[in-house]
Amino acid sequence: MMELQDHVEKWNKAARTFDWMNRGVERRYGGYKRTLFAKSRGKVMLVAAGTGLDFPLFPPDLDIVAIDFSPAMVERAKLKAAHYHGSLEVMEADVENLEFPDESFDTVATSCTFCSVPDPVRGLKEIHRVLKEDGQMLMFEHVRPGNFLLGAMMDVMTPIVRKAGPELNRPTAANIRRAGFRITREFNIYLDMVKLFEAAK
């Protein structure tokens, strides 16, 4: 079992090549994410912002707090935040232990986040706590496919991939519900593996 510090170190190392490695993801899925994040309103928290690749996908003039638990990611994200037309604060924080008061945000956005959070249900419960009663959660995530064979392939790959990257077999829809959210919309982008979720309290 990896400790939190091991996870932080892993993503610190990944920060060096993160933009380069994710060019394909942005090319392929950027349009979907832009459409999803266009729904952001009020005070927004972007969880696991990474190096800030998603900042240009948000509409201008929002009040955004972007968090990540990797100092190396935060350092790089701060450089990109300067180009956002609106308020965008980047800070080091762990989604499993947020220091924000209850009901602080109108929108929480995630982008390939809950494949990496060590305890996803705990992280989602923290989001549930800091989200306002009428708030919304917007998620772009990859999850374990429902197909038996493809799911088994992801189960086999996960122990190898997790050493340097994310988990490939997370049951994110179930985790969202377990944390107390109601899924209001689910959209399959690639197979039933890359998805958009919209959820409410």
Partner: protein, 141 residues
Amino acid sequence: MRPDTFVDMERGTAWFVRGVDYTSTLLAAGVTAGAVHFLIPSHWPAWVSMVLGMFLGMVVLLVVFMGFSLVAGPFGILMPGMTAAMAAGMVCGMTMTAQKASFVEALTVGALIGLGIAVSFHLYDRSLHGEVSRNGTRRSA
């Protein structure tokens, strides 16, 4: 555009990534078949050749994946590529080596396996793509 409508990729991007998906799957299967032809002796037991063929498929996939996922994202490469490379390694290892098939024959079988799997994944993806209804089934694209 309605604000609650998720848009597909622009046509040019969609063609590009679909082309990358097909090319990478064909390459993974074709190169695996070629590697099996050159590296696995014909007198080895079929089951050993089959397992080694699948292993070779994984090695080939790793190289193909590293290259192509950078330009079109990982998942469209990984899933069909892994299936195609393992299938090509298994089929070519089990049957082609024992029959002393030529390199061109091995490559053709590998490429056909790759094409079949790329098309299958494409169709499967289109059948799942879109809104998911509350009971987990696809509602509309």
